[in-house]
């Protein structure tokens, strides 16, 4: 129990007044402006907003792929980036699962999964393989050890990528529109599979999506982001018990919450659309 609690205490993210100004040609464009979010350890936090609102900018700042212009981001009380250190250092405590998938095509599934622990020198190759095999069973991937990523379906590939992230025992998993471009059927299976993995791990999940149903079905909390410059418009706590399965999709509670999120997102999508029109006109 103590160990579980200690684990629970990892993965708290605090985003405080973060702004990101892109200024390539002296035409300052604010992608994110004065954005603050508090994410509790072990929470599945979904950021939902119209396309181009700066969701990915936020994720890249946490992962350490981009600098921020002002504000601070903390992970478990330690400064990731802020004044004097504009860009976080990428590391295995915050592993990203990419929108278009980023498995190494030249490594087998097993070698992809063991890559992290071995390269960090945390495990010997054999040990890492044992751990990887266990996790693969958990995620319904056994039998694929020696396949190459190109031989997998998009759903399988995404699951492998999630497992590859989790073997590093990260504090946070950052998922950037992980199910974009999948058909509805695959997507709903992937949602359940992700929740199953989440329920077993207690890692903080930071998920980006523009799909409202996905946001409410997965999330413990859904933060709706405004259109550019992005900031948090509203944070909605999803009060539906876990484990969840597809049956909650039709309950009144779920529909009610979805209505709330849709209201918030719809306004922003409308504004984004009109802003787009203006730019063209």
């Amino acid at each position: 129990m103590n160990q579980a609690q200690a684990k629970q205490a990892r993965g708290g993210i605090s985003i405080r007044n973060v702004s990101k100004i892109y200024d390539p040609e002296k035409t300052a464009v604010a992608a994110v402006l004065d954005c603050s979010i508090e994410i509790a350890p072990g929470e599945l936090h979904v950021i939902c907003g119209p396309s181009g609102c700066g969701k990915t900018t936020l994720l890249n700042a946490i992962a350490g792929f981009h600098s921020i212009t002002s504000g601070e981001i903390y992970l478990d009380g330690e400064l990731l980036c802020g004044p004097g250190k504009p860009q976080a250092t990428p590391g295995a405590d915050r592993v990203v699962v990419f929108q278009n998938g980023a498995l190494f095509p030249w490594k087998t599934v097993l070698d992809n999964i063991t890559y992290g622990p071995v390269i960090q020198g945390r495990m010997k190759k054999e040990e890492a393989r044992d751990v990887a095999r266990d996790k693969m069973v958990m995620a319904g991937l056994s039998g694929l050890e020696n396949s190459y990523p190109g031989e997998l379906s998009s759903g399988m590939a995404r699951r492998v990528e999630i497992v590859r992230a989790l073997v590093n025992d990260p504090a946070v998993l950052l998922l950037d529109e992980p199910f974009r471009g999948m058909d509805d059927l695959t997507k709903s299976i992937m949602h359940e599979s992700l929740l199953e993995i989440y329920d077993q791990t207690q890692v903080t999940f930071f998920v980006i999506t523009h799909d409202v149903e996905e946001a409410v079905f997965l999330g413990s909390k859904v933060s709706v982001m405004t259109t550019r410059p992005g900031r948090i418009k509203e944070s909605i706590t999803v009060d539906i018990s876990r484990p969840r399965d597809y049956r909650v999709l039709t309950t009144d509670g779920f529909r009610g919450l979805m209505g709330e999120v849709v209201d918030a997102v719809h306004d922003e999508a409308q504004k984004a659309f009109e802003a787009g029109e203006r730019e063209i006109a």
């Binding site: 992962a63 350490g64 990428p90 592993v95 990203v96 278009n100 190494f104 390269i119 031989e151």
Partner: protein
């Protein structure tokens, strides 16, 4: 494949031996070439049964292999480093891009001045053309790598050296092998050019002397030999590439 060859040979046979078109009057015919090539006592001195034929082949192949090895050993690392270290590319690439378009024949005088030996200039010219092809393709290979793969590697705890070894090198590999195949092609091209001008042996030299001494079937024999060996060396590179990149072969076959 066989149909293609059959068609090609019949057109040749018809054009030269049967119809004797005006333009083809001095061309050696198919029958004449085959006869000469397989003769135990060839009329013009070169056939499958003369040791001279094989010494020409050996000399040319050796030159290409030496030049190619240097192009591989210098060009691939240079291209990879140019692709990976932006700073390094900033001051090397402009020089590289100025030298690259210079036709290989324009290098001949300098090559001869630079090397006093007989092998030197020919190998140098062959190396030079192969080198540009390997370097450029290795560079393009690095640039073709999906940025997310590099990011993923950093996320998983890689150092910069780890990323170079586990992402940049394997990621550039498909382009590197395309480059090697192109390099092998241009290497044979420059070899012949070099041998025609500065050689004493080799298939390019053979083509040239056979021409000046009016041994026309011998020219064709040397040409086909060049074609065949060129194809063989390219096929060898493809084979090695497929072996090293089995993941691609497997993905392609499962569609």
């Amino acid at each position: 494949m066989l149909t293609g060859f059959a068609l090609f040979f019949s057109i040749w046979l018809l054009a030269v031996d049967v119809f004797q078109f005006w333009r083809f009057r001095y061309m050696p015919g198919l029958a004449e070439v085959v006869e000469e090539w397989t003769a135990r006592k060839p009329q013009y001195g070169i056939s499958l049964f003369t040791s001279e034929y094989y010494s020409h082949i050996w000399v040319s192949t050796r030159r290409v292999l030496i030049a190619f090895t240097f192009a591989l050993g210098l060009g691939v690392p240079l291209g990879l480093i140019m692709g990976w270290y932006v700073k390094f590319k900033e001051f090397t690439f402009p020089v590289f891009e100025t030298l690259r378009p210079i036709p290989i024949l324009a290098w001949v005088p300098l090559a001869i001045l630079m090397f006093s030996s007989e092998e030197g200039p020919v190998i140098y010219l062959t190396f030079l053309s192969a080198f540009f092809a390997t370097t450029l393709n290795a560079l393009l290979g690095v640039q073709s790598i999906d940025r997310d793969l590099v990011r993923a590697a950093y996320c998983l705890g890689s150092s910069r050296a780890d990323v170079f070894r586990h992402v940049v090198i394997p990621g550039a590999m498909p382009y590197v092998f395309i480059g090697l195949q192109i390099a092998m092609g241009v290497a044979w091209f420059s070899l012949v050019a070099g041998e025609m001008i500065a050689g004493r042996f080799g298939l390019g030299y053979l083509v040239n002397t056979a021409y000046t001494t009016a041994r026309y079937p011998t020219i064709v024999i040397a040409m086909f030999t060049l074609g065949f060996i060129g194809w063989l060396t390219s096929a060898l590179i493809r084979m090695v590439g497929n072996r090293l990149m089995q993941y691609r072969a497997r993905v392609l076959s499962t569609g």
